[in-house]
Amino acid sequence: MDSIGGMLRDNAAFLLNGVLTTVGLTILGFVGALLIGTVVAVFRVSPITPLRVVGTVYVEFFRNVPLLTLLILIVFGLPDIGLLFPLFWCGVLGLVLAGSAFICETVRSGINTISVGQSEAARALGMSFGTQLRLIILPQAFRTMVQPLVNNFIGILIGSSLAAAVGVSDITNVTQQLNIRYAEAVVLFLLSGAVYLVFALGAGGVGSWLERLVSQSRIGSAR
């Protein structure tokens, strides 16, 4: 027991760094995926054929490629064509590409739940595309998207652990290294597992809170 306490004390900074790397990968990955996913969703439903094709190919590729394969392609493959990024950003890139394909589908089905009458009414009132999107479509679409987006977030959180396999020092990688040095597999597994569990539960909590928040702000709430 003492040795475990000592191990944790000696490596506190190392472990904290791992947790922060996991948080960084997840948050950057999610924000990036949200931005790109939304753009790709608009591509997929736009009346411009080349954009639709690009959107569809993008989603089908990145949704179906295993994340580990994608990360290995980025880390070991891209340098072959002269694209060498720092490891951490390789991880972020992989998470953004894979995550955006899933978020694109979340956003698309969110917009699909809105009745055409809503945007027809908005157009009849003379709203521009941006205003329509900001005031009418996205606020309503967001309401149905909260839960799937939380799932996407948790997916990216869990996916970030695969960055450990290509050498990013996230919490999985850090505990694995300590594992080899101290041979405390069970304690370390539970420790890093707890990190993912806490963040996943936290994300679920924030999700339910957000869902309550947006369901209260029905139409008519002033902006």
Binding site: A41, V42, V45, S46, P47, I48, P50, L51, V54, E60, F61, R63, N64, V65, P66, L68, T69, I72, L73, F76, G77, L78, P79, D80, I81, L95, G99, F102, R108, I111, N112, I114, V116, Q118, S119, I137, Q147, N151, N152, I154, G155, I156, I158, G159, S161, L162, A164, A165, T172, T175, Q176, I180, A183, A185, V186, F189, G193, Y196, L197, A200
Partner: protein, 285 residues
């Protein structure tokens, strides 16, 4: 033209001016896409990665044998074995979670919630290091497949639970009023309907399992990724090998996903759409 509701929500039916704008935008977008593709090909060419011998490599019988026969074969084997164990196990967990016996329900819930938010690679590492120390040495195959089963059982349990709950309450009531015992209601009335509902989601679960099997790369079990790693170690055609492998995975998973959506459309139940799907970066869904 547009079948998607979202298209009609976001974009008005174009008038003459709108159609002209769309035509111009189409041309501009096409040009940009062509330029981007050309840029990517150029990037390959400049670094000598388009050299014919680096790609002809994948037409050699020995290489096809390694990647397709052994690699894909082992990938399918691991996925299939994991699915055969994990899916029934998931059903048991789902029934456990829905059970009225509190202890059973608590234990199943804890198992499901724990493994649902546990990255598989963590379980794999734990197995790789913890088991040999406690004197238990599993073959590499099981080092990969057991973690796959543990993680998949949790997400599949949620798929089954959603499916069982999606069966209309009236079905339970009708069966009970006919005098069927609770066990019979479940096995003859509810589960057959639930199965039909969850079938597409089970296929998505299969895609998740197939993706998880790439961790054979970590445990050195000879599935597709691991075969790729070995080929790269010998021949150093990194980007070519991993690109080919990525395309193989995309093709297989795409076919499975298509099959799932075809089944979904065919059963035509809207209930499935409301069911929560396993967390994948898809987590898949």
């Amino acid at each position: 033209m547009a079948t998607d509701t979202a298209t009609r929500v976001l974009f008005d039916e174009p008038g003459p001016r709108g159609r002209a704008t769309i035509r111009i935008a189409t041309i501009v977008a096409a040009v940009i896409v062509v330029l981007l593709v050309a840029g990517a090909v150029w990037q390959f060419a400049v670094h000598g990665q388009l050299a014919a011998y680096k790609w002809q490599f994948f037409t050699y019988t020995a290489i096809i044998q390694t990647l397709v026969v052994e690699g894909i074969g082992n990938t399918f084997l691991a996925t299939a074995v994991a699915a055969v164990v994990a899916f029934p196990f998931g059903l048991v967990l789902a029934l456990g979670r829905l059970s009225r016996r509190r202890v059973l329900s608590r234990v199943s819930t804890a198992w499901i919630e724990f493994f649902r938010s546990m990255p598989m690679i963590l379980v794999v590492y734990a197995f790789l290091l913890a088991l040999p120390r406690s004197g238990l040495v599993l073959p590499v195959f099981w080092m990969l497949v057991v973690p796959m089963i543990l993680v998949s059982s949790a997400s599949t349990a949620e798929v089954f639970r959603a499916g069982i709950k999606a069966v209309d309450k009236g079905q339970w009531e009708a069966a009970q009023s006919l005098g069927l015992s609770p066990g019979l209601v479940l096995t003859t009335i509810v589960l057959p309907q639930a199965f039909r509902i969850v079938l597409p989601n089970l296929l998505t679960g299969l895609v998740s399992l197939l993706k998880d099997s790439t961790l054979g790369y970590v445990v050195s079990y000879g599935e597709l990724m691991q075969q790729g790693k070995e080929l790269v170690a010998y021949y150093h055609y990194m980007i070519q090998t991993y690109l080919v492998i990525a395309l193989i995975y995309v093709l297989i998973n795409w076919l499975l996903t298509r099959l799932a959506s075809w089944l979904q459309a065919r059963t035509g139940t809207r209930k499935t759409a409301a069911a929560p799907v396993a967390v994948d970066l898809e987590p898949a869904q």
